[in-house]
Symmetry: C2
Subunit: 346 residues, 2 copies
């Protein structure tokens, strides 16, 4: 064709988790929450009128900023709302990276980061997340943008916030802490924005709040950093319905806590039972586990599960191709998975 | 700060039309539709369940593509769905432009284009839209991306599709025809995608379909061009609620036609009456007029309207600073405007 920039022509594009069409599929492949969102969300959506939809949305989603600021103990000026967490990632790459300004990552991590780097035409400085010294190596690389996914996808592990504070102090560029899964973890990094004007925390309503369908994420950072990111976002990047839904959802912290508690209970049960079957399952701080298949090849297990209409995530990548990433489902979904795994492993 | 790319530090950012907070304001400044969307839209939204919102949306909004393909007489593969028309513009800049690949524009036009060029770090080749030879000049510039807004914002004029076909044939790069306002025009350019694999048509649900609040736009182009654009868009760039709303809205062409007819009637009335008052008002093919204020300075008229809680758009830009851009409102809004203008002009 020749119409596109070379980087676009040459790239494969990001591949999302498969969405099975049958209603009876057990879908444990895209880290969705098996329990419903707060009932207040549906109420809020159903109250919307044609007049609400006729007008452009709030340009910076002030309703959400006001409520979430109270929940998070920050000011509304510390918050930028985005069309899912992915939109914030895109904004950060466009704001901080170019051919002369690389991004630094500890791999394996969220596979979208290198795709966005490719789109932006910036170099990716990669190091291994599993080595103890990876934060020191990131500090040494000292890139204009450093991204840490914490807790990490797909490895489920969690870096203590004190260690991230040390890293933030060493870097002269921006440290983006992707907390998409933090609702299931033991701590979070919000307090760092008081000490560092260079730290951005990414949050998502997709996982803990059961709202993957509404595409709503947000960033938390020093007000000056937020101001700069606002220049890069689309003028009206979140819609009226999503703002209404996200605002009442984050206002209902009781519902979140209840939901997270149920997932943690199932996470413990799945982890224990899979260990009993011989899988290596590290403790998880997310709503999924990354299980190493010891008795049979991970790919074989994955395919045998697909045959049973059970979908988990398999990555044919070095260091991951012996593992399965499994979303914590509802009890009956996890039961079906465990029965199937018992059959497959034998 | 120093954290951002230089282009971001130096830019001012796009300024959206002011959103007045009082409910009794007459809001004719952001080209919203004064009549409500199809009642089917609210029905569709109210049918959504918590389960719909828990899951990620359709990655490429197949429901919308299937219905709109029928309406437009194209194939679903010819359509990309985006988070408002602005998202498609951003995608195109990222797909086709960089430091070595400029964009060509005929000014004055939608003021977001040069902002996006600034973000992407590409040169803007500008020529005057009002000169008869501007299409010839665009052909000569032969940029990797040429954008024509048609009908144009803020000048309301319409370039015949045959002339755009000639331009498309002369260019070796992509021709993006921004048809955000085309529902109010006499013709459209969809047929060009059969003859040119380099033409992209931008559409929006914000204006004709009264759905500015849902952020839903789409592009129509050759399937290979769409495939490339898909690599650049965020994985889940439109949400489940917006897909549901947009799909039933575009399926209700009766409602659209009825709505557009009412706006055209009011457009004629406003145009005639403002001409009688001494404004120069060119015929419009959009849902707004661009009126040159002859008797008093446009800025003075704008400010006197604001004092009366009536909001129109004033651009303090060369060639536009003697004009007001006025959205076609509902009859009672237009009446209030006309009364106020009579008072102000004297």
């Amino acid at each position: 064709m020749g119409y596109f920039r070379k980087a676009i022509e040459q790239m494969a594009g990001y591949i999302s988790g498969f969405q099975p069409k049958t209603a009876d599929a057990v879908k444990l492949n895209t880290n969705e929450n098996p329990w419903p969102c707060s009932p207040k969300v549906l109420e809020a959506i159903r109250k919307l009128t044609a007049e609400n939809l006729q007008k452009y949305p709030e340009a910076v989603a002030d309703s959400f900023r006001d409520v979430s600021a109270v929940v998070l103990g920050v000011n509304p000026e510390n918050i930028i709302c985005t069309n899912g967490g992915d939109d914030l990632l895109t904004i950060c790459f466009r704001a901080f990276c170019d051919a002369d300004r690389p991004v630094a990552l500890a791999e394996p991590t969220y596979s979208l980061y290198p795709v966005l780097a490719g789109l932006q035409g910036c170099e990716v400085i990669e190091m291994a997340r599993d080595s103890k010294g990876s934060l020191g190596q990131l500090a040494q690389a000292n890139a204009p943008l450093t991204i840490i996914c914490n807790p990490n996808a797909p490895t489920c592990d969690f870096i203590p916030i004190d260690e991230l504070a040390v890293l933030a102090g060493q870097l002269s560029g921006v440290l983006l802490i992707d907390e998409a899964y933090v609702d299931f973890a033991e701590d979070n990094a919000v307090r760092l924005i008081n000490d560092f004007d260079s730290v951005i925390i990414l949050r998502s309503m997709s996982k803990g709040y059961s709202l993957a369908g509404i595409r709503f994420g947000y960033g938390i950072a020093d007000a000056a950093l937020i101001d700069g990111l606002m220049k890069v976002k689309d003028s009206y990047n979140v819609d009226t319905m999503a703002i209404a839904a996200a605002t009442v959802a984050i206002g209902d912290q009781m519902h979140l806590k209840d939901n997270v508690k149920k997932i943690k209970t199932e996470r413990s049960r799945l982890t224990q039972q899979m260990r009993t079957m011989g899988f290596e399952v590290p403790d998880s701080q997310t709503n999924f586990v990354l299980a190493r298949s010891v008795k049979k090849e991970a790919k074989t297990v994955y395919e045998a599960l697909v045959e049973r209409n059970i979908f988990v995530r398999y990555f044919s990548l070095l260091g991951l191709d012996d593992k399965l990433r499994i979303t914590i489902g509802a009890p009956e979904q996890n039961d079906k998975l465990l029965v199937a795994l018992t059959e497959i492993i034998g």
